[in-house]
C-alpha cells in the first residue's frame, strides 16, 4: 500500500513539474488576464499591444493605432571577448557634447555615438534595438554598474530627443566569452554573461563546424543558466528588474528584449522551449510586472515550468516584453514547440529573428541562395508560422533581427522587407556599424553608408494607422509607394513617412483630409485623417536620391 502511494506521489510530482503542469499553468494565464497600466504623459506616446477579437495582436499607440517600428541594431554597448579592456569608454561623459571617442583597433564594433542615432533618424528609423551585456551591467554578483546604466540612459535620451523608441535588449552570443579560449573559438564573437555566471564545469571550450554555439563549454554554461544553477537565473531576473526600475516611467523605452537568441544547451526541443525557456520568460514578467502567473515556488535553484516568480516590486505594466524564439527555430524556420500561452500580461511581443538562407539548415548543407532546397515554403514559411505562434501566445509579432551580407541584399534583404510589408511588421536590422565585418550599414573600409542598403531600408512606410488591416507597398527601385486603408470619420490620422531619398509626388485619394510636412532633412510626413471610408496615399515613381557610396 505504501509503495503504491509513493509511486502515485512520484507520478503526480513529475507530472506537475513537466508537460501536464506546464500546459495547465499556460492555459491558466488565459483565464484571468493581468491588466496593463494605461500609458500617458510620456515624451513619446506609450506603446502597448492591442488585442483585436479574433485578429492578430499588434503594437499600438495611445490612440489605438497600429505602430510600425523601423530600426537598426548598434552593437556599440556590448562587451565581446577576448576579455581585454573595453575598446571604448563606458562612462557617458566621454560622449557628451556630441563627442565620439575612437575605438581600439581590435574592436569589431565602433562606439555608439549621438551622430549614429541622428543618422538612423535621417534614414527614417523611428526605433533602435539596443543590445546590452549582462557582463557589463552586473560585473560582480549582486552589484550593478550604475555608470553602465547611465550610459544606456544616455542613449535613451538621445533617442527621445529624436523621437525614436528604444528596445533595451539583454543580449548574448554563445552565452559568454568567459567560456574561455580554445580550438576554433573566436572570443570576439561571444558576449553575454559575466564570469561569475559562466559555469562550464570543466567542459572544454572548442568550437565545432565553425558555429560558436557548438561548443561543449557553451552547452554546459547555457544549460546551467536554464536550470538556475547557483541561482544565476535569479540574478539575471534581478538585473532586468534593475533596468526596469530605472526606466519604469520612460515612454522612450518601448520595452525589453528578455534574452537574445536562446540556445538550448544540452536540452532538446520541444521540451527546452515549453519547460525551460518560456517558463523563464513568464518568471521575468512576473518579477517585473507582478503578474503572479504560475505557482509560488522556491528560487535559487531549478524551478519547474509551473513555477512563477515573486513580484520584485517594480510594478512596471507599461513596457513591452520582447520574447525571442529559441535559436533552433531560427535554424529551422519552423515552430519547435507547442507555442503555449506564456503570461497573463498583455504587452507581449514574439521577437522573430529572420535569417532564412543565412543560418537556416540549407546553408549548413553548403547551399547558397537562390539555389537552395530549404525552407520548403520559401520566405513565407518562417513568417506564416511566426504569425501563428504569436497569435497562439496572444502576442504581437516583431522582426527583432535580420540582416545579411550586402552581396545578397537583392535576394535576401529585399525578400525579407517584402514579407514584413505584407504582414505589417516592424523590424530591427542587424547591424548598424561593424568595424571589421561586412554586414553593417556602412562599408568597413571607408565608413561610407552603403547606397544599396540606403535604397532598401530608407523606405516610405506608415508609422501609425488606425486601420490594422492597412495594406501598403514601397518599391525600392522606383520610389513608388501606395497605401490603402479604411477609416471612420474621427479616427486618428494615418501617418506616412517618406524618406528624403524619395522625391516623388505625393497624392491622397478617397475619404481622408491630408497635410504634408517637409522636415529639415528633406523627409516628408503625410498626415491623412479619415473622413469615413476608404482612402489611399501614393508617392509617384521618380528618381531616388541616394547619399551613400555605390
Amino acid at each position: 500500500m505504501i509503495g503504491r502511494v509513493v509511486v502515485a506521489a512520484l507520478v503526480f510530482v513529475v507530472a506537475l513539474a513537466t508537460y501536464p503542469g506546464a500546459v495547465l499553468v499556460s492555459l491558466a494565464t488565459r483565464v484571468v488576464p493581468t491588466a496593463a497600466a494605461a500609458g500617458s504623459g510620456g515624451t513619446l506616446p506609450w506603446l502597448h499591444v492591442a488585442h483585436p477579437t479574433g485578429g492578430m495582436p499588434y503594437i499600438a499607440d495611445e490612440q489605438g493605432r497600429l505602430v510600425l517600428l523601423h530600426g537598426a541594431i548598434p552593437a556599440g554597448l556590448l562587451q565581446f571577448g577576448p576579455g581585454l579592456a573595453q575598446p571604448f569608454p563606458i562612462d557617458p561623459s566621454a560622449y557628451e557634447g556630441d563627442r565620439c571617442p575612437a575605438a581600439a583597433g581590435w574592436s569589431r564594433y565602433p562606439p555608439l555615438c549621438h551622430s549614429d542615432l541622428q543618422a538612423m533618424a535621417a534614414l527614417g528609423f523611428n526605433s533602435v534595438r539596443l543590445p546590452i551585456s549582462w557582463s557589463l551591467l552586473e560585473p560582480q554578483r549582486g552589484r550593478f554598474d550604475e555608470v553602465y546604466v547611465a550610459r544606456i540612459a544616455q542613449v535613451v535620451e538621445w533617442a527621445r530627443a529624436l523621437r525614436m523608441y528604444v528596445i533595451v535588449d539583454m543580449h548574448q552570443n554563445g552565452y559568454s566569452y568567459f567560456v574561455g579560449p580554445g580550438p576554433h573559438v573566436n572570443l570576439a564573437y561571444l558576449s553575454g554573461a559575466p564570469a561569475w555566471a559562466t559555469l562550464t564545469d570543466g567542459f572544454p571550450s572548442q568550437v565545432y563546424r565553425d558555429q560558436r554555439e557548438l561548443n561543449p563549454a557553451v552547452f554546459e554554461a547555457t544549460t546551467n543558466f536554464w536550470y538556475d544553477r547557483d541561482g544565476i537565473q535569479d540574478e539575471y531576473i534581478a538585473a532586468l528588474a534593475h533596468l526596469a526600475r530605472r526606466f519604469k516611467d520612460d515612454s522612450a523605452v518601448v520595452g525589453y528584449g528578455v534574452y537574445n537568441e536562446p540556445w538550448p544547451g544540452w536540452n532538446l526541443s520541444p521540451g527546452f522551449e515549453d519547460l525551460l525557456l518560456f517558463p523563464f520568460y513568464r518568471r521575468v514578467i512576473d518579477a517585473i510586472t507582478g503578474a503572479h502567473d504560475g505557482l509560488p515556488c522556491w528560487s535559487g535553484f531549478f524551478m519547474p515550468a509551473v513555477c512563477g516568480y515573486r513580484d520584485l516590486g517594480v510594478d512596471d505594466r507599461r513596457h513591452l516584453m520582447f520574447l525571442d524564439t529559441g535559436l533552433v527555430r531560427e535554424v529551422t524556420d519552423f515552430p519547435t514547440h507547442l507555442g503555449l500561452p506564456v503570461s497573463s500580461y498583455p504587452n507581449l511581443v514574439l521577437a522573430l529573428h529572420a535569417y532564412t538562407h543565412i543560418y537556416t539548415i540549407d546553408t549548413f548543407r553548403g547551399e547558397k541562395v537562390p539555389n537552395t532546397d530549404y525552407p520548403w515554403g520559401g520566405y513565407d514559411q518562417s513568417y506564416d508560422f511566426a504569425e501563428r505562434e504569436a497569435k497562439a501566445m496572444d502576442a504581437a509579432l516583431f522582426v527583432a533581427e535580420f540582416g545579411d551580407d550586402p552581396s545578397d541584399d537583392a535576394l535576401i534583404l529585399k525578400s525579407q522587407l517584402q514579407q514584413q510589408e505584407k504582414r505589417r511588421l516592424g523590424f530591427a536590422f542587424w547591424t548598424w556599424t561593424e568595424s571589421g565585418g561586412s554586414w553593417g550599414m556602412f562599408t568597413s573600409a571607408s565608413g561610407c553608408l552603403r547606397a544599396g542598403r540606403e535604397r532598401l531600408l530608407a523606405r516610405a512606410y506608415p508609422r501609425a494607422t488606425a486601420d490594422p488591416q492597412v495594406t501598403f507597398h514601397y518599391d525600392s527601385d522606383t520610389g513608388a509607394f501606395s497605401l490603402s486603408a479604411t477609416g471612420r470619420a474621427g479616427d486618428a490620422p494615418t501617418i506616412v513617412y517618406v524618406p528624403a531619398e524619395d522625391g516623388g509626388a505625393i497624392a491622397i485619394s478617397g475619404a481622408a483630409a491630408s497635410s504634408t510636412e517637409t522636415a529639415q532633412d528633406g523627409s516628408r510626413i503625410v498626415t491623412a485623417s479619415p473622413t469615413g471610408g476608404q482612402f489611399g496615399v501614393t508617392v509617384a515613381a521618380g528618381q531616388i536620391r541616394l547619399s551613400g557610396c555605390p
Binding site: L10, V11, V14, A17, Y19, P20, L340, R388, A392
Partner: protein, 65 residues
C-alpha cells in the same frame, strides 16, 4: 519508467500506454503469478497524462493560432 519519461518527453507517451496496458493484461491473466500492477498502472496513468497534455497543447495551438 516509460511513463515517467513520457512526462517530460511526450514522444514516449504512446509506448508508455502500450507497455502499461500490456503489462496489466499479463498480470491479470497470470492469476497472481506476476506482480507489479501498481507500477503498470502508474506507467499507464503517466503515459495518459503526457498524451493528454500533448493533445491539449496541440489542439490549443491549432485553435488559437
Amino acid at each position: 519508467m516509460l511513463g515517467l519519461l513520457a512526462l517530460p518527453f511526450g514522444v514516449f507517451a504512446p509506448f508508455a500506454i502500450w507497455s502499461g496496458t500490456r503489462s496489466l493484461r499479463r498480470i491479470r491473466a497470470s492469476e497472481g503469478e506476476l506482480r507489479g500492477s501498481g507500477s503498470a498502472v502508474a506507467g499507464l496513468v503517466a503515459g495518459l497524462l503526457a498524451l493528454g497534455a500533448f493533445l491539449i497543447g496541440t489542439v490549443y495551438w491549432l485553435v488559437a493560432s
